[in-house]
Symmetry: C2
Subunit: 444 residues, 2 copies
């Protein structure tokens, strides 16, 4: 009962923070007394599926763990951000769902969905975009800043002869009226849609007709119009015993069909969501905002990313850590160079990262201010990965590198070192305890 009381009290406090249009400046100092327990300078990034929940079910360790993460008034002891590759919903909805499950207040500003960084891709906001996904995709796109949004259903209605796989949904008359449609400029893939055959057919039609599905395929332009994809997770853990298909599987289908028809590789202008660096740039921005709200004077120096998926959470956190190290080396060299030293090429390790790994054409501009020193990855065994039951069987006759099947995206390099977590623990409660131990900071 006491916990619920504290939760209710904290909820009221946080409501005042979350509700305001620009809340953190207004309240951060008044909240400092509740939150700041010393010179803490770290923040936590939580994955959701397989770490906190499986399907609709809360993982027991999660509730306990979050009880310890807030003080008696329901305020977080350190900056906490939820970084999920889910994207077929609004972050407000996700925040409410998490608040309900974890029984601590989670505000939308703490939640990052796979598509959240699209807010920064302003060069696409005025284009006419075709969006694929399920749930309120049109609303999601508009909230992110897109001003001219066409859904797959709208395209189906405008061109009723295109989608004919389902015999029962074929037009009843042989020449149904088609509506005039201005050309599509770009395609945004938010998350796994429903009726993959419809989305695959219509997206390929748009790609092969340069955005004008009424024209013939014989004028194929390559490279095709821009494709921006969010969430490349191949598999995720719901209630079933085995992992379930994620948006990454839809992308594999789209890539394979496009290649089979045209002979060319499908190209992404941006691939966002974990493990791409742009996602962690954005998460770091949210962590900084949380730290400000807590009234922290010192910058956040260390990030801990807790996840269940070696190819998304661990690979992403490690790739971001590699980016941090490279950026810091580049900064040092730049300083040395401006001091007259003969420095080598700047940011050479960043240059070695593929454009896809960094997040795409635009990416998020590097946040102002000091970069964190490092980002550690913590693997839990309550989701896609488990200690006893490997994701897939290993053949002892193969070497370690050969054994692992690459479940990352086609455009990411298979670097086995990046799938090795800094720490491996049983569940999220152990993960948080470990972080506070590492930081020599009392948790309870």
């Amino acid at each position: 009962m006491q916990r619920i009381k504290a939760f209710t009290f904290g909820r009221q406090l946080l409501k005042s923070r979350c509700g305001s249009a620009s809340p953190h400046h207004a309240v951060s100092h008044s909240l400092a007394q509740f939150s700041s327990q010393g010179p803490k300078s770290f923040g936590l990034l939580f994955d959701i599926d397989g770490v906190l929940v499986r399907g609709r079910t809360l993982i027991p360790a999660a509730k306990q763990c979050f009880r310890n993460l807030v003080d008696h008034d329901g305020n977080y002891k350190v900056p906490v951000v939820f970084v999920t590759n889910a994207g077929n919903c609004m972050r407000q909805t996700k925040a409410e769902h998490l608040s309900h499950l974890l029984q601590v207040e989670v505000c939308p500003e703490q939640v990052m969905l796979s598509h959240s960084p699209l807010r920064m891709f302003t060069q696409f906001h005025k284009m006419r975009v075709l969006v694929s996904g399920q749930g309120p995709v049109e609303e999601v796109a508009q909230n992110l800043g897109f001003q001219d949004v066409v859904t797959i259903d709208m395209l189906r209605d405008a061109c009723p002869l295109l989608d004919v796989v389902d015999h029962n949904r074929r037009p009843k008359e042989p020449s149904p009226p088609s509506k005039a449609l201005r050309p599509i400029d770009a395609i945004i893939l938010f998350g796994e849609p429903i009726r993959w055959e419809t989305n695959l057919q219509l997206i390929v039609d748009i790609l092969l007709t340069n955005g004008n599905p009424d024209t013939a395929w014989n004028s194929i332009q390559y490279p095709h119009i821009p494709v921006l994809a969010c969430n490349m997770d191949l598999l995720w853990m719901a209630e079933a015993k085995n992992p379930r298909f994620g948006h990454g599987m839809f992308l594999v289908c789209l890539e394979s069909l496009y290649k089979k028809i045209t002979g060319y590789e499908l190209k992404y202008q941006a691939l966002i969501g974990k493990p791409s660096v742009v996602t962690y740039n954005y998460a770091e921005l949210l962590i900084k905002q949380q730290a400000e709200r807590l009234g922290w004077a010192t910058p956040v120096k260390r990030l801990y990313a807790i996840g269940d998926n070696p190819m998304a959470d661990i690979y992403g956190a490690n790739l971001y850590n590699r980016y941090l190290q490279a950026s810091r080396r580049a900064d040092t060299k730049m300083q040395a160079a401006s001091g007259g030293g003969g420095a080598g090429p700047l940011g050479e390790t960043i240059d070695e990262m593929t454009s896809t790994e960094l997040g795409g054409v635009s990416g998020v501009p590097r946040p102002e201010g000091e970069l964190p020193e490092r980002c550690s990855s913590i693997l839990v065994c309550t989701g896609v990965y488990s200690r006893d039951q490997q994701e897939l069987p290993s053949d002892p006759t193969l070497t370690v590198t050969e054994q692992r099947i690459f479940h990352g995206h086609r455009d990411f390099r298979f670097d086995p070192a990046l799938t090795q977590p800094s720490f491996m623990v049983q569940d999220v409660k152990e993960a948080v305890e470990l972080v506070f131990q590492q930081e020599a900071c009392p948790l309870e």
Copy 2:
């Protein structure tokens, strides 16, 4: 009006032929007087989509052409068989639909769907098979001889936690009751299903659990349980300006996902439908039966296959022709060998064909009696292929071989020679006129 009268009369006559359980022995001789106009010894194989119809619309040339193919009494002048890769229906339904459109009687024994040869794959008939497709798949499977059929919907109901891509179709409760299910022994892919995400997830689950979706993926067996696929057409021509996705596209998705998860290639125990040889073996059997019905005394020596798809109809007819030549050479050598000659290895060209090209593990036993001398391929320009508008643009800097994108199935060799038709004409009417010219036989 006269045509309609003749059609009605012929319809009655043909009804007596089609209706009987074993009709052709009973009536063939009595019908000979109507049909036999000399020593004809050829037969016609018609593709349907893109040759006779586009979507629900009859191609005008088809009606004219079929008017000439029957005599005044509505009897066919030569054996005619419809060889389609469609499979999501019963052949009775297809025959009725064709009779209605073409205004000549088409009986089910003249229609061959992509799955028809499965009737001969008796070694699978007692197995517990999972069937994928749309329409009456359970009935289709039972009619072909399968005795223990599980549909995708039945599997979904039995294991409600497996199919969770569509948020609205997820089980409402976290632990819905699952039903006990005996292991699946084999998978049959009849044609493109609806909701590809559901079929792809459940088929991969069955493959990765050796037929027991309640067990964990960590005991993957490879090679997996048998997969038999019908209809590998990538694209087909409906009313839309551009080709539409066929079952071949679904197969590309399944192959790509299986490989992405396991690292292994999906294997087919049989791949039937055009262009595999087993399909033409079966079509030849039907042509022979038609010839018997017409009271022909001489065997059918030449086949003409009319189609719109270079990768299915033309490739298939040419591959079958290659098989015929090889079989005839082998027969000659065998005769020479039995006469004491020092012959080389028998049927060497057949040995060079892949098992997939021949149709799979079992295939249809080579029909008894004399093989046809040849099978010619005739390409029409009313479907997937058109003279003005190539299927896909060609880059003049590439060689002929490089130019063509291979739209055949992964397990068929890309042999550009096999995609070259014996003849190319505008439409099906021209095709039939050409055949009768070649055979020096009056058509009208």
